[in-house]
Amino acid sequence: MRRVFYIAALVCLLVATLSHVTALPVSAADGDAVILIDGKQASEYAEISKGAHTVAARSEAEIVCVAVYENGQFKAASFHAPLTYDFPDSGAEIALFCLDSAFRPLRDAVRVRQGAAFAKLVYSGAAVCYDLYNEDYPDFEDYTVRLKVVTDNGKIADIREIAGYRLNTQTPTNDVNAGLLADAAKTIPGVIITKQSANIAEADAVTGATCSSDAIARAVADALTHTPEPYEESSGEASAPIADGVYSGSAHCLTGYLNYMVDVDVTVKDGVVTEIQDRTLKTPMSSNDKVLYSVAWRSVSKGIAKAKMKADAFQSADGVTGATVSTAGINAAVRNALKTRSAATKESGDLYAPEGISLYARVYPVVAVKNNRIANIRIVPGKESDTEALEAFAGEIVASQSVAGLTWPDAIQDDAFSIANLTDQILYGKGVLK
């Protein structure tokens, strides 16, 4: 039996062209990726950014990819695996990855050449960090790395604004991921700039943050395939120093068992963080977390008062071993406060959260009530919940001042129901909802 996998084409425009290119001879020594364009070795080929071309690649996993490449964009692709290759369920994903990695140096070269006409260009790119082996980090979840690449006369000059986001959202990823990404971001951009290639060697990757290192490299490669924007001096430059005042920020503590929300007021005086104040809401915490949180709070607030850290460069204050999650949550809340620079305002009205002595809901709402009306609903998310969609859904509740007659959006129906039902349960007894 011959195992041939046809993956639904990326864009099925030129299926007819595919039928004759499947016979392309692709041969190479084991372990090398070889790319053929219209039957020729890629290195002999000067320009593929114009017109239609058939491209074949042979990956390290001995999967042969055949693709149609038109005006610099993929149009269609098919994949052939050797007889002995046993595809797991995610074969399609692996095949796409193979194609992506096979083409990386090629695209790199083409795009940089395209941009040569401009003195400085900014490319935005993204890549997903999938970690196959994350047993050491139970909090690890796949996340998207987004960054910007600055090229100067066709050379990679700078890699900036490296940030991690939850998959398919604009929400920052959790603190564990952010830490790993920050580790990788210290060295990998330098390596890429020195090499002038997104093809980093395994040895270059930061130990302990291999996946994040790789994701940065792939995001750079991805960026170079996109249409660049002209470089503006202000992009990525630090803006005015943080003025004196009190700023408020919040962060989620994802304990994996009972998530809760941390709110802090940060006082900045003469550009220095002098004090933080706890505004942590009446969100339910397990008794264990209450202890850990209060210990972490005492230590972090003391540390901040002593260290007199610059507000512009605040990273984190030391916490307590054993209360890592609470410490990270408090630090993240301070960072958010300084980043968004929103002035501290006491949340208007009374705040209500689910008050059951145990909470197993994946997500839950914290509801602000003013003048017997729902003023605001904040979502405390679970590990993989779609916060943006849920916030939009919560907006509907606030707009209609009722949970009756709502429909649960398909993609988030369980979480949306939890939000509506919990809002109903906690507000009914207060006489807000009838």
Partner: protein, 486 residues
Amino acid sequence: MSGKTITRREFLRGGVCALFGAAAVSVFGKDFLSPETARASESASGVDTTSFSIARDVSKCIGCGKCVEMCSGRQGLDILKLAVRDGKPVSALKYAETLSESACIGCGQCARHCPSGAITVKDALSVVNAALNNANYQRVVWQFAPSAQHIIGEEFRVLTGADMSKKIASAVRKLGPRNLAFSTDFGADITIMEEATEFVNCFKRGEKKPFMTSCCPGWVNYVELTAPDMIPHLSSCKSPMEMLGALIKSYLPEKTGLSASEIFHVAVMPCTAKKYERAREEMTVDGVRAVDAVLTVTEFKNLLMSKGIDLASLPDGEYDSLFDGTSGAGRIFGATGGVCEAAMRTAYYLLTGQEPPTIEFTSLRGNDGVKTAEVTIDGETIRACAVNGIANVKDMIEDIRNGTCPYDFIEVMACRGGCSGGGGTPILFGDEGVRHRGLYQYDASSAVKSSHNNRTLSEIYAEYLSSPCSTVAETLLHTSYRSRKI
């Protein structure tokens, strides 16, 4: 809901586990994974299955203390405590070795709040599934508690408190043609007829003051185990579930020509103490158990899910007609104060022959610990009181012992919020009022508001039971209590 697709990571993890399993079998031999070994280690670790309502497996305890917070905190029962074992906190019994030797009333709040499965509700699903597949049963009869009909929706993405009775009726039809569905509202109507009659008789003679309800099996257990001197005050009425059960095992066979043993009777309750009540010696009709199995709301949800029935998407159906015409008074049994309110409506009618001027006793509603109402008839005042939660009954009992209790009629519900907050229901994150809302809305919109206006019940009295508290009714619908003081 779409099936979960396996991610690459889970795929690899699964592979690693499978590999480990295979390796373990090859290294340790087959016994490593055999069920016999697992069971032996379970009993060695001390699983306590002596209670009819709950089971405890200390080896699964994570020491979070939620069971203690419920048992000794909210319920004030003081059965469980946190002990220290191997330097870690662990849930333990305070004064006894096993649950059956303790004064546990089986309210199930500990099991409801246990996050790790160390305390679980005793499962009756296997018995029910076996009955559904047993051709010897000509009929499988279901009854659904008033509150259960309003709580089950929560498990199927329907907002808390919505009336699901019509959907439940369709769901039972889906379980097979042999299944019949009734609402325990009817049992509640019988209870009110019996209990109100008994109360009015006692009130006239000045006996049993104060008169206390016996609908809540947790409360009955509390009296028998902790305060047996209250037994003379208890109504002799069985609970609504047992009353309807008695008719299902006597009146229903007579109507259908079946024998009582050919009927399997399942009750879906918000309660775990009902699992004990079902097993009491007195709860039989001619030697046949009145209720064959008690499922909690959560267990019933599990049954529906295991059969692939999505309750919310079913068309509306109707309960079977043998026990229908139920009243709103029967439905509000699911809320604290509901029994008291329903009894007052009928007591007024029994004493005066007229409907009460206001049918809604709003002072008996809500989630306060003790709620009172007064009904004045010809210059005589009936003082009624509803005790919400077993922790609030201690002061009341002290007052009765001291002779300072001013009330004539006292309703006691062991769980906060009444049946709506029962141990067999999903956890609620606020006031139980959100569940009461649905019950009172049903009452407000129902055509029949008092138990004595239930026409089907009047016919059954005329045809079969003769009158409330008659000899037939006494045999079928009343019971007795004994001290089991520990």
